[in-house]
């Protein structure tokens, strides 16, 4: 009971918190559910992506404003055109709520609409009221405005969509309309093969670069043929040239080849993306000039048009890149990331650890070690004090993102962490970690996600049967808090109130959480072990209390399966991403997202918070990784180079590096500072589902469907990093194939795919997966 004497304040506070939680349990859940059922009421007139809720993030008003301006500047007329068309389409299908939401989320400038619509004020206020009836009533008025504005904006900006000007009823067709221009389809193969011949005839150094043009050209020509109903020509064209394309586009080509009718193009999101986003190529100036000259000499307008309209050519000065350099970076759905996309400054440094007094630490240990002996008062030493050093120049300011105050329990946990850290094993090539494997047995329901708490005391599994199960890994059993009625009976002043509130009858090794209505694909513990997040196919993210083992909140916003979710390392915030291609940042006490990160062209498959909580990384099945600034919602990094959907991400503990694993079985290492790839770890033979750095970042562990855990020498990979200014400036990677040198070990499991990895605080590696005999 010495503990209790030592922390009277802490106990009280904690107890109070729990009381509150237990008392409001029923009511709270109900209220939240109720809110969730309603669609998000439109909150502000700007209706920006970064709908700031007046939450903790509002501590930085200037940044939020800048985000707004940023977004609206991005809303080029062309995009708006698209949006309006989509709105029109939604209206046609009587999806009024979606219209409302889309309009709000896309930040369609209300004022521009107001200019056109006569009844703007009424509609505007109605929309803002957000009740279902009002929205329904307004819909027609609203949409008529949309139509009007569309027509006029089409007239205003004829350069962007020349054909749209002719139509008075814009439709999804507008989006595809650029394909409607006529050209002799018979000549497409001629054009293409002409270009091919040219590119094959140029000097070797240019050939690799110019060959990048093949794929986007091929796709656009094919789509154009399909769009113009030249079905057989399209098929012939595809058959003839599909073999020329790089193998890593195989998946996309497969989708493409299945498409042979104009009607099919409409519903196909992949293609709409291809059409609306420009394919990015990096080409040296010399090569580009060569291409341009050739096309102009040949009067090859068809190809030139496509290049102008659908390709973004990022021209750089200097030596053309080699084939291997190009291959390392390409492979994503929409080409490489633009160089300027990775120019923004990223504060990747770590936040300064809060100073924690350790007044009771020594006493504790003594009490444990030398029981009965009289305590000697040692001079109090502040173990944190020695650690506090100068602010990392790359670190964001401590308050850049408002973080929750540390509770006493958090401080206690930090102290525990420090203690454990002193017993940590230094890992290295000669000192590899031991591996413990947690096998899920009898998981007929299909294990889909696993997470450990940071202190490795709990393990949770998400299952395909919609359940979430939590196990205690330590001998300490899981107990619920007593019911509200019983809590009234206990003595709140007693020292062991924390013990007393727990219901001993409920003690068990595991608990099952019911609530989802679809497979649970993502799962994440809060750092303080009080909460658990789960994301599911049913489109919700749920927050569970690990004190009561009940659901506290269901966050609704993703209307499609949510593939992954991850708690911020500082708690409170979390990120989720799913099939709707939008990553959302939430705070646990807000039922609406604080930020929405949109830009991925396909499903977001995995999400991860940066150790300093200022950034989030998202991996997608468009084969790119994006890094987003939590503060303003901007995309600050785009990493391309994977050839398959990305399913695992891990930040190095110092925040400088990012590792990513994909279905292509490769792990890529990224330098966040300059946005460059600096390592490629080849070895796995199947999808990589988990990545984790050891606590000091010396070892990278990767777990895969091929039933192996592999350990990589991360330190060596970082050291080999050559950071001369030239490479950083040009953005060219020089990868050496040193996977074999970096591979420290391959550890095979027994028919158990490794779907989660975790380093304990002492650097023991835990792996988890379900046994599939």
């Amino acid at each position: 009971t010495r503990d209790d004497v030592c922390f009277p304040f802490l106990n009280l506070a904690h107890a109070h918190f729990i009381f509150k939680m237990a008392a409001v349990q029923g009511g709270l859940v109900d209220a939240v559910e109720e809110k969730d059922i309603k669609t998000e009421p439109s909150s502000d007139g700007i209706g920006n992506n970064n709908a700031n809720d007046g939450g903790p993030l509002s501590a930085s008003p200037s940044s939020s404003a800048s985000a707004g301006s940023n977004k609206s500047s991005a809303g080029a007329p062309e995009d708006q055109q698209t949006l309006l068309a989509v709105l029109q389409f939604l209206k046609k299908n009587k999806l009024t709520e979606s219209v409302d939401i889309l309009r709000r989320e896309a930040g369609l400038p209300e004022d521009s609409l107001d200019l056109k619509g006569g009844d703007s004020s009424g509609a505007g206020s109605g929309g803002a009221a957000g009740s279902g009836d009002a929205a329904g009533g307004d819909a027609s008025a609203l949409l008529s405005r949309v139509t009007a504005s569309t027509a006029s904006s089409a007239a205003v900006a004829p350069t962007f969509s020349p054909t749209a000007a002719g139509e008075d009823q814009p439709d999804v067709n507008v989006v595809l309309s650029a394909y409607s221009q006529q050209g002799d389809p018979k000549l497409y193969p001629v054009y293409y093969s002409g270009l091919k011949r040219f590119i094959e005839s140029v000097l070797d150094c240019h050939r690799a670069e110019l060959s990048q043009v093949f794929y986007p050209l091929f796709v656009h020509m094919y789509l154009e043929l399909v769009y113009n109903n030249y079905e057989s020509e399209a098929k012939a064209f595809f058959e003839k040239y599909t073999g020329d394309q790089e193998c890593y586009y195989e998946d996309d080509l497969r989708i493409l080849s299945s498409l042979s009718k104009r009607e099919h193009m409409r519903g196909n999101e992949t293609l709409l993306d291809f059409r609306t986003s420009k394919f990015v190529l990096r080409i040296s100036r010399d090569s580009y000039q060569l291409l341009k000259r050739h096309l102009q000499e040949r009067q090859n307008n068809q190809i030139w048009n496509i290049i102008q309209e659908h390709l973004y050519i990022d021209i750089f000065d200097g030596m053309p890149r080699s084939k291997s350099q190009i291959d390392a970076m390409s492979g994503s759905l929409a080409g490489e990331g633009k160089r300027e996309a990775n120019k923004a400054k990223v504060y990747y440094g770590l936040l300064k650890e809060p100073e924690i007094e350790l007044p009771l630490d020594d006493e504790d240990e003594e009490a444990e070690n030398e029981e009965g002996k009289p305590k000697k008062k040692k001079p109090k030493k502040d173990s944190m004090g020695s650690k506090s050093k100068k602010q990392d120049p790359h670190a964001p300011s401590q308050t850049r993102i408002p973080l929750p105050e540390l509770k006493d329990s958090d401080k206690l946990d930090k102290i525990m962490y420090m203690k454990e850290a002193t017993k940590r094993i230094r890992l290295g090539p000669d000192n590899l970690p031991s591996i413990c494997f947690y096998s899920f047995l009898n998981a007929y329901q299909g294990l889909t996600a696993v997470d450990f708490t940071d202190d490795s005391s709990l393990i949770a599994g998400g299952f395909a049967d919609s359940t979430v199960r939590v196990w205690s890994v330590t001998p300490k059993k899981l107990r619920k808090v007593k019911s509200a009625a019983d809590l009234n009976l206990i003595d709140k002043e007693s020292d062991d109130v924390l013990e007393r509130i727990m219901d001993e009858k409920t003690a068990s090794e595991s608990k099952i959480l019911y609530g989802h209505s679809g497979p649970v694909y993502g799962i994440s513990f809060s750092p303080d072990r009080n909460y658990l997040l789960s994301s599911s196919e049913d489109g919700t993210v749920r927050l569970w209390s690990l004190q009561t083992f009940t659901c506290l909140v269901g966050y609704k916003g993703h209307n499609y399966p949510v593939w992954d979710t991850h708690f911020s390392p500082h708690g409170y915030y979390f990120i989720s991403g799913g099939h709707d291609r939008v990553a959302r940042l939430w705070a646990t006490d807000h039922y609406q997202p604080l930020r929405m990160f949109s830009g991925h062209l396909a499903d977001i498959t995995c999400t991860r918070f940066h150790p300093n909580s200022n950034y989030v990384a998202t991996g997608s099945s468009d084969r790119t990784i994006r890094l987003w600034d939590v503060l303003n919602g901007n995309c600050v990094r785009i990493f391309t180079g994977h050839k398959g959907p990305i399913h695992a991400l891990a930040f190095s503990p110092n925040g400088k590096f990012l590792a990513s694993g994909a279905t292509d079985g490769r792990v890529l290492l990224w330098d966040i500072g300059n946005g460059m790839m600096f390592g490629e770890l080849k070895g796995h033979t199947d999808s990589i589902y988990s990545l984790r750095f050891s606590r000091d970042g010396e070892i990278l562990a990767s777990g895969s469907m091929d039933n192996t855990v592999r350990l990589w020498d991360a330190l060596k990979a970082f050291d080999d990093l050559e950071t001369d200014d030239f490479t950083a400036a040009t953005g060219h990677v020089h990868l050496q194939d040193n996977s074999q040198e970096l591979l420290l070990g391959t550890y095979v499991s027994k028919s158990t795919p490794v779907i989660h990895l975790h380093f304990t605080r002492r650097n023991l590696l835990l792996a988890a997966g379900s046994y599939n005999p």
Binding site: E239, F440, I459, F463
Partner: protein, 605 residues
């Protein structure tokens, strides 16, 4: 012809489905619909694979597909959610494939006394797999220290024997080895002997000693009372050492270490065959439980490789099949457990033979069959898919009579497999197809490329295997040789008469040269081919020459281009509102109208 890499639903199938729903469709409408169905199907498959990936599985389930359908606002397909795969069977009588959907005897089920227990609770178990990055398993290849305390007699025996074998006296050595070969009471000493043998590494300079140790291995192997068990590994490593290492003794060119290596290699085959034999013994023992059979099948697949499957499993298959079929067809509740075991064995055999077929195909690209390279299969379209008739089961090799270690007696020359002759791929495929039907994932065309292969292995087969490749040699079955590639979209329309199949092209033309002389001299089998040729109507429109020119290039595409293929069928004209496909298993005559389509859904996994 376009390369069909994807699912194609034929127009006929669409029309059939429409008819069963009571609508008549025109050809053009059906064609349009068929194309749209294909597209939607592919789209749904693409998106279902995403659910599979996120569920961290390798196997696409019906549930995944249904989720994809649901998210695209399409009604889900109900009734196929079972975890275990549904058996997909050919009907023997007709060219018909169906999913087995048996009646369940509810009464029996309800009154059954063995009520299955609920499924076990999901749990997490932890084990330290690798300590400090090293496996915590005992290091491989070591011999455990004394397993049991030895009696004084045994100890004495051990000392005497080792002394005799490693000693000077050749006669004594011979006696010792003979005793080692026949003594029935030395099981307890086995670890010690194995340990002694593992001493090869320390005497690598002494050729004589090495020789003796190897003889000791031979004696141990031949001792019928010894079960080598896990010591085989250690023995193998010792023998391998003699085979592979640059022995110290070989520095001196006078030393005849070559003989040693030969001898060691021979021993190794002895060990290999010993395992093969014991596998085969188990498999051919009907009294053994199914799990033992499973072990034997898996063992020969994974351990023995192609050779083992081909020699152990394949010849025994017809005999074994009958037993297995009986087990699988017994649907009574009391048989449930046995039946489940039977399915395991079935699955194992299936995997084994598929591997065998694949490897065989890859290993003889020059004279094997043709591949599923649709683009090049010019004249093949007219072929029809048919379920193969029952070919006369080849007689299993008669090896049972041979003793366990008899193969070593003649210095390796008496290997019982000496008389074994490889079965040609087409024949093997036909036979296997008759057992497995479309469950076989490996498909081969039996087009001209196949036909030109000698239908029967050379005459030395003789009596050991009468007509082992019946399907190829007999006109009736030759026609039924399955013709399954992605391109073969067979519809009833295309072949008004099912007998139009082109015969196997003449042997005299471009078949691999080696077959010619022998096959003409061989007895009935090849002449029956000749007859079959004449008896069949030739589809003359197909120029034989060019197609044959095309084939050699296209045979057996490399694995990365060979897409997984499966075929399915929408069958039966359904009157009224019966929603089930006709139950065909017990129908005497196959249903008249049907359409068969070939599918190759390639999923990005």
């Amino acid at each position: 012809m376009a390369r069909r890499r994807f699912a194609e639903v034929s127009r006929e199938s669409v029309k059939l489905m429409a008819e069963s729903a009571g609508a008549e469709l025109g050809d053009d409408v059906a064609a349009l619909l068929a194309e749209d169905v294909c597209y939607r199907l592919r789209e749904a498959t693409q998106s279902s694979s995403q659910f599979m990936r996120h569920a961290k599985r390798r196997k696409l389930t019906v549930e995944d597909f249904n989720r994809a359908l649901r998210w695209s606002n399409v009604e889900a397909v109900c009734g196929y959610g079972a975890q275990d795969a549904l058996p997909f069977r050919p009907a023997k009588e007709g060219e018909l494939f169906f999913i087995e959907d048996r009646d369940i005897n509810l009464v029996e089920l309800a009154l059954a006394t063995n009520i299955p227990k609920g499924c076990a609770e999901t749990m997490v178990r932890v084990n330290v797999s690798y300590l400090d990055g090293k496996g915590n398993l005992e290091p491989q290849g070591t011999v455990p220290s004394a397993v049991q305390s030895l009696s004084d007699d045994l100890l004495k025996y051990y000392q005497q024997i080792t002394r005799a074998i490693l000693g000077e006296d050749p006669h004594l050595m011979k006696v010792a080895l003979l005793d080692l070969q026949s003594n029935s009471k030395i099981a307890a000493l086995l670890p010690y002997f194995v340990y002694v043998i593992s001493g090869v590494k320390s005497v690598s300079h002494d050729l004589e000693q090495l020789n003796r140790l190897l003889h000791m291995v031979k004696s141990l192997v031949q001792n019928p009372y010894l079960y080598l068990g896990s010591y085989v590994r250690s023995l193998v490593s010792s023998v391998m050492y003699c085979i592979l290492e640059p022995l110290a003794a070989s520095i001196n060119p006078l030393n005849d270490h070559w003989t040693l290596r030969d001898y060691a290699a021979l021993l190794l085959t002895g060990l290999y065959h010993q395992i093969l034999l014991s596998l085969q013994k188990v498999l051919s023992d009907p009294v053994r439980p199914l799990c033992s059979h499973y072990g034997a099948v898996v063992g020969s697949t994974l351990w023995g490789g192609r050779c083992a499957v081909e020699r152990v499993l394949f010849p025994h298959l017809p005999a074994y099949w009958a037993n297995l079929q009986a087990v699988l067809d017994d649907y009574s509740v009391s048989n449930a457990q046995v039946k489940a075991d039977g399915h395991k064995v079935y699955g194992a055999i299936l995997v084994a033979v598929e591997r065998l077929l694949k490897m065989k195909a890859l290993s003889q690209p020059a004279d094997g069959g043709s591949s599923g390279q649709p683009g090049s299969a010019v004249g093949v379209v007219g072929y029809r898919v048919s379920s193969p008739g029952l070919s006369p089961p080849p007689e299993p090799l008669s090896e049972a009579a041979l003793g366990i270690a008899s193969h070593l007696q003649a210095g390796g020359a008496g290997c019982p497999w000496e008389e074994w002759t490889p079965v040609p791929l087409p024949a093997m495929y036909c036979e296997l197809y008759s057992f497995f039907g479309d469950s076989l994932a490996v498909r081969f065309s039996t087009g001209p490329g196949f036909g030109s292969y000698p239908p029967c292995p050379p005459s030395q087969l003789g009596d050991a295997r009468k007509e082992p490749c019946g399907p190829a040699s007999n006109p009736d079955t030759a026609r039924k040789m399955p013709q399954l590639t992605a391109n073969l979209n067979i519809s009833p329309r295309q072949d008004g008469s099912p007998r139009t199949d082109p015969p196997p092209p003449s042997l005299a033309s471009t078949g691999p040269g080696r077959s010619l002389a022998r096959s003409s001299s061989s007895s009935s089998s090849s002449s029956s081919v000749q007859r079959s040729k004449s008896s069949l109507s030739r589809s003359g429109q197909r120029p034989a020459g060019p197609s044959r020119d095309v084939f050699p290039k296209a045979r057996f595409t490399s694995p990365q281009t060979g897409l997984p293929v499966f075929s399915f069928l929408i069958g039966g004209r359904q009157r009224g509102r019966r929603c089930k496909l006709p139950v065909i298993g017990r129908v005497g005559k196959p249903v008249r109208r049907w359409a068969c389509s070939h599918y190759s859904l390639h999923l990005p996994l």
